[in-house]
């Protein structure tokens, strides 16, 4: 019995000690308790207790404000650790939306690592602070974002025309105090795109200038409007359009908008779908930013082992991280990569109750407005540029067949708008070119027409009128076969399956192309590409006479009915 008594005594003491330890850990040594006890408000130390933001409709219960006390509702300004400071001024109050709606992380947690999501088994860790605006993508859609060039044109117009003298934008400008009198500041334009602005701002500005001139003339006889004359003058139509476009993009997230514009300019959608619009060659990206880092292989990632780090490394060298990846190495600059990472992280559209949708999302998802601007340049940049080159010059990526130069004047001179429209809408089944019609790639007929018009402008060439019937050629197929084997096969393949040159035994191509198109392409070639015209002899082969070309066309036609 003595042994049992001893066992009872010692196990009881051990249990007691363990429980005392647990109680101390629970009640004294909690991280957030230490943070709060170190803080002091205007009326001395603050009350130490759990704080949280609860938004039932968003299923949010965020205890972030337990440490970030200064961001909680009704808390005084607290001094101490930077953790405790107030939330910077943004469009949203953390007490209305909670914290995780924008920043992600684990709102219910009360320990730093767990709350920031830097733990195993938390699929949505906090977005790194340097990419904080990517969090907007949870709800916002930012519609009609143009290309980088258009955006840069707008910004140039804004700066060149001295708008920053009176207006603040993204934390700059608004410094002018004309004649030391003060009070001339114009409104802050950082959020003007989100809140909308008057369409007649230009006329209104002109009217204000006239008014200022009148007032000055009355007071000191000089017919000048002071600051209105110094900093504002008539603007060209072009500048005004660029400014309009630029202002529409000022939604308080300049870097994110630039990131999206970069994405739109690099033709990424040529291979990747976002929200149902884009190509099918690469994986869909609609929820790329919501990827669970727990399911990512970080073995070859040199930087941070988080989603941003993975994406950065992936843009540098896709196939290193994803074995067998088809994505070409795009040779992007580091700033470009940083922007693309930012945009990828913003692709995290959450299922938010519709009552909480911002108007841009309603416009995009309910009214069908586009996230990209629908002018020709942006559409071409978003969907075509990656393969066909920013200016239609064609592209070559290692390990892939060359992509046709569709901005080539020789091409555009013989390719009718119908041919282009049909090709874009239905694609080239069997070749890389996908179908972009509404049911597949997601482009509307009007948008395809815009792209066709833009293509024309790229080449600067109109279609040469041709009165001949679409199928006027009557050549000798056997002769054509012989000539094809001698002169064409090397690039286009023995059976027209393609190689260096595009595949010609393609039902969609042969169905759409007129005889003139084929004939003229062979005769003139495409200047600037490897396809040289056969009307002129070259150092390596003789020229072909028109009947010979006709025979080749006839021979090509023989593939039309093959399966």
């Amino acid at each position: 019995m003595q042994a049992n008594k001893h066992l009872l005594l010692w196990t009881s003491l051990v249990t007691l000690a363990l429980l005392v330890f647990a109680a101390a850990r629970e009640n004294v040594f909690k991280e957030w308790r230490r943070v709060q006890s170190a803080a002091s408000g205007p009326a001395g130390p603050i009350d130490v207790h759990l704080r949280q933001v609860v938004v039932p409709t968003l299923a949010v219960a965020d205890r972030c404000v337990t440490c970030h006390v200064g961001m909680a509702a009704g808390e005084p300004v607290v001094a101490g650790d930077p953790t405790l400071k107030r939330h910077p001024e943004v469009g949203h109050d953390p007490n209305v939306m909670g914290c995780t709606a924008c920043h992600a992380g684990q709102g219910r947690a009360t320990e730093k690592a767990a709350a920031h999501g830097d733990v195993h088994f938390w699929p949505t860790p906090m977005i790194p602070l340097r990419y904080a605006d990517a969090g907007c993508g949870g709800c916002h859609t930012h519609i009609a974002v143009p290309t980088v060039d258009r955006l840069a044109a707008g910004e140039r117009a804004f700066e060149r025309n001295d708008c920053l003298a009176c207006h603040k934008l993204d934390g700059r400008g608004g410094t002018l105090r004309p004649l030391g009198a003060g009070g001339m500041e114009g409104p802050d334009l950082s959020f003007v795109g989100a809140r909308a602005f008057r369409a007649d701002w230009y006329d209104a500005h002109l009217a204000r200038r006239t008014e200022a001139r009148g007032a000055r003339a009355e007071s000191d006889g000089e017919a000048r409007g002071g600051a209105w004359d110094d900093s504002f003058g008539p603007l060209s139509r072009e500048d005004r359009d660029a400014l309009d476009e630029f202002l529409r993009s000022r939604v308080g997230a300049p870097k994110l908008v630039l990131a999206k514009a970069t994405f739109n300019s690099l033709g990424c959608r040529g291979c990747h779908k976002i929200a149902g619009i884009g190509g099918d060659d690469g994986p869909e990206l609609t929820l790329e930013g919501a990827k669970d880092p727990g399911r990512i292989d970080f073995m070859h990632v040199r930087g941070e082992h988080d989603l941003a780090g993975w994406l950065t490394e992936h843009f540098r060298s896709p196939a290193t991280l994803v074995p067998g990846s088809q994505m070409p190495v795009l040779s992007l600059s580091e700033p470009q990569i940083d922007l693309l990472v930012r945009y990828m992280l913003s692709l995290r559209r959450a299922s938010v109750p519709e009552a909480w949708w911002p108007k841009d999302r309603v416009r995009a998802e309910r009214l069908g407005e586009r996230e990209f601007a629908v002018d020709g340049a942006t559409l071409y940049g978003s969907f075509c540029a990656a393969c066909h080159g920013p200016n239609g010059e064609g592209m070559r990526y290692p390990g892939m067949p060359a992509f046709p130069a569709i901005g080539n004047p020789d091409f555009l001179a013989v390719a009718s708008d119908e041919f282009l429209t049909s090709t874009i809408t239905h694609g080239r089944p069997g070749r890389r070119m996908g179908a972009w019609g509404e049911s597949s790639g997601g482009l509307r007929a009007s948008e395809i027409a815009t792209v066709v018009a833009h293509l024309r402008s790229l080449g600067g060439v109109a279609l040469e009128p041709d009165a001949r019937a679409p199928r006027w050629v009557r050549g000798d197929a056997a002769e054509g076969a012989r000539l094809y084997a001698a002169d064409c096969m090397q690039c286009h393949g023995a059976k027209g399956e393609g190689g260096e040159g595009p595949a010609l035994a393609n039902a969609a191509l042969l169905a759409n192309a007129t005889d003139t198109y084929l004939f003229e392409t062979i005769r003139r070639g495409r200047r600037g590409t490897t396809m040289l015209g056969f009307a002129q002899p070259s150092t390596v082969r003789p020229s072909l006479a028109d009947p010979e070309i006709e025979s080749i066309v006839t021979f090509l036609r023989s593939w039309e009915n093959q399966p």
């Binding site: 019995m1 042994a3 066992l7 363990l18 205890r63 219910r108 947690a109 320990e111 195993h120 088994f121």
Partner: protein, 520 residues
């Protein structure tokens, strides 16, 4: 009509009232103990006998049963672990909400904001694992000391029931956190329940007689793990299974007393030797009552015509032992709870299967067998094992070695040999199957029925059975065969579980270490 006479002495009544009021605390104390305060051997005995909670104990306990090596306290440890899970479980029920939409959130609240919530949950989880472990060890103790033999055969069966209920309780609790771990472990478990389909499929009976599908449907209330499954598991976990366990426990304890206390060797008295002077006086008072009913009791009756027994009063001797083991169990559970957090992975996502999806650890041995044949691993072999365990007390009618560790023909040497055979066979079969594959890898279009009958699990079972039969012949003793078979069963269980826990990775492929898993 009764006329109340006026009280004769009004002041006297008031005085009595206050006197009674003053005396109340003392009287409450007195009345709580039916035989008076337990401060002498006699009153203590009456106390134990008359108290509803204590009367499952004998009044006196044999000195043999109090030796640490007699039981290792494993039964009490299991009970203590159960009581810990009961108390912590009730506390958790205050905060846990059994619905898929909020179950996971309530787990996070328990982990992060409920005061001591995380500690309570950790203790609950560790106590549950300790319980599974101690129940298995307790069974092994009962087996190796021959405690299943007559007259304790039926209590052995009750014990098996308790083992099944313990596993059931642990398994149903596994789903409740509603995280990926829970979701896919239960999916695996439910598929094991569905495994008879392998045989009905092979026989073309599934259309008409889908017993496997029915089992799964009964378990989940649906085809997949969803809210029906969650509420079912919750109800089983917090009500049906605990009530069943308590009921069976009562029978288990009751039968210990009725079957003559804990098992001990026939020559226990001699081996214990004389009572040490320091020991509590043994059997100091003569019986106050004669038991008339002793005439109808079967077998030998109590202490008639025998000298002082080798027993000591249960209070305090047995109670100190029990309390000490209970406290030790609590200390272990709390310590483990402080050292290691109960896992909580990301929210359950039916679209993203865990790979590998693993059942709770005590089922990983089965899952290892299921990987070869769903039916055999899920139903066949567990059925054979349960049947074998249940038959042991009815086949082994020998007396030799009862109450002794590894008692019986062969003894320790036999168990040692069986350890080698058991581990060796399991290791060899596993190594072979992992290295060379099995029938499906060699003959891709072999009928599944062949594999169901002939797979590593059945081969291992057959080897164990053959070895055990050989032992019966060699030692001319069923006990010898049982010792071998039980030891082999434990070896197989341990080895398969170890392989399942540590050496199986994505797609149930073999890996030396999780760091070799692809994608990590």
């Amino acid at each position: 009509m009764v006329v109340l006479a006026p009280p004769p002495e009004q002041h006297g009544a008031l005085r009595r009232f206050f006197a009674n009021l003053r005396a109340t605390p003392a009287r409450v104390k007195d009345s709580a103990f039916r035989g008076g305060k337990p401060d002498t051997d006699r009153t203590r005995s009456t106390f134990v006998f008359g108290n509803v909670f204590l009367h499952l104990h004998p009044v006196r306990t044999h000195r043999w049963s109090l030796r640490w090596t007699a039981t290792m306290g494993l039964g009490i440890a299991s009970l203590a672990a159960f009581l810990i899970t009961l108390i912590t479980g009730v506390l958790l029920m205050f905060y846990y909400k059994p619905h898929p939409a909020i179950a996971y959130d309530s787990m996070k609240d328990i982990a992060f904001v409920v005061p001591t919530g995380n500690l309570i949950r950790n203790i609950h989880r560790w106590a549950a694992n300790v319980m599974v472990l101690t129940v298995i060890l307790h069974m092994a103790r009962a087996f190796y000391t021959g405690a299943y033999r007559a007259p304790r055969e039926f209590n052995w069966l009750i014990g098996m029931g308790l083992l099944v209920l313990t596993l059931g309780l642990s398994f149903t609790g596994y789903l409740l956190p509603w995280d990926q771990l829970a979701y896919w472990a239960i999916t695996i478990g439910a598929n094991i329940a569905q495994s008879p389909r392998e045989v009905t499929d092979a026989l073309g009976l599934t259309e008409t007689f889908d017993i496997g599908g029915l089992q799964k449907l009964l378990l989940l209330g649906s085809d997949t793990v969803g809210e029906e499954a969650l509420i079912r598991f919750y109800l089983l976990h917090v009500m049906i299974l605990p009530l069943g366990l308590v009921a069976l426990l009562s029978v288990h304890f009751w039968r210990i007393r009725k079957d003559g206390g804990l098992v001990r060797p026939v020559d226990a008295d001699r081996r214990l030797g004389p009572v040490h002077a320091a020991d509590y006086p043994v059997f100091t008072e003569e019986p106050r009552k004669t038991y008339q009913l002793a005439a109808v009791v079967r077998g030998k009756s109590g202490a008639v015509a025998r000298g002082p027994e080798n027993t000591v009063p249960s209070m305090p001797h047995l109670f100190y032992a029990e309390l000490a083991v209970t406290m030790l169990t609590i200390a272990i559970c709390v310590a483990l709870a402080l050292v290691s957090d109960a896992p909580l992975k990301e929210l359950a996502n039916p679209q993203v299967p865990e790979n590998p999806a693993k059942a709770p650890w005590y089922f990983l041995g089965l899952q290892e067998l299921v990987a070869y044949s769903a039916f055999m691993g899920g139903v066949g072999i567990p059925g054979i094992v349960l049947l074998g365990l249940g038959l042991i007390p009815y086949l082994d009618r020998e007396k030799d070695g009862t109450g002794e560790w590894f008692g019986g023909p062969g003894g320790k040497e036999l168990v040692l040999q069986a350890l080698f055979v058991g581990f060796g066979a399991a290791l060899a079969i596993e190594a072979f199957a992992i290295r060379y594959g099995w029938l499906r890898e060699w003959i891709p279009d072999i009928p599944q029925l062949w594999i169901t009958v002939f797979n590593p699990g059945t081969v291992l079972t057959a080897i164990y059975a053959a070895y055990s039969i050989w032992l019966v012949k060699r030692h001319q003793s069923t006990r010898a065969g049982a010792l071998g078979l039980f030891t082999c069963f434990l070896c197989g269980f341990v080895l398969l579980t170890v392989v399942g826990v540590w050496f199986r990775g994505p797609n149930w492929d073999f890996y030396w270490s999780p760091s070799d898993w692809p994608g990590h």
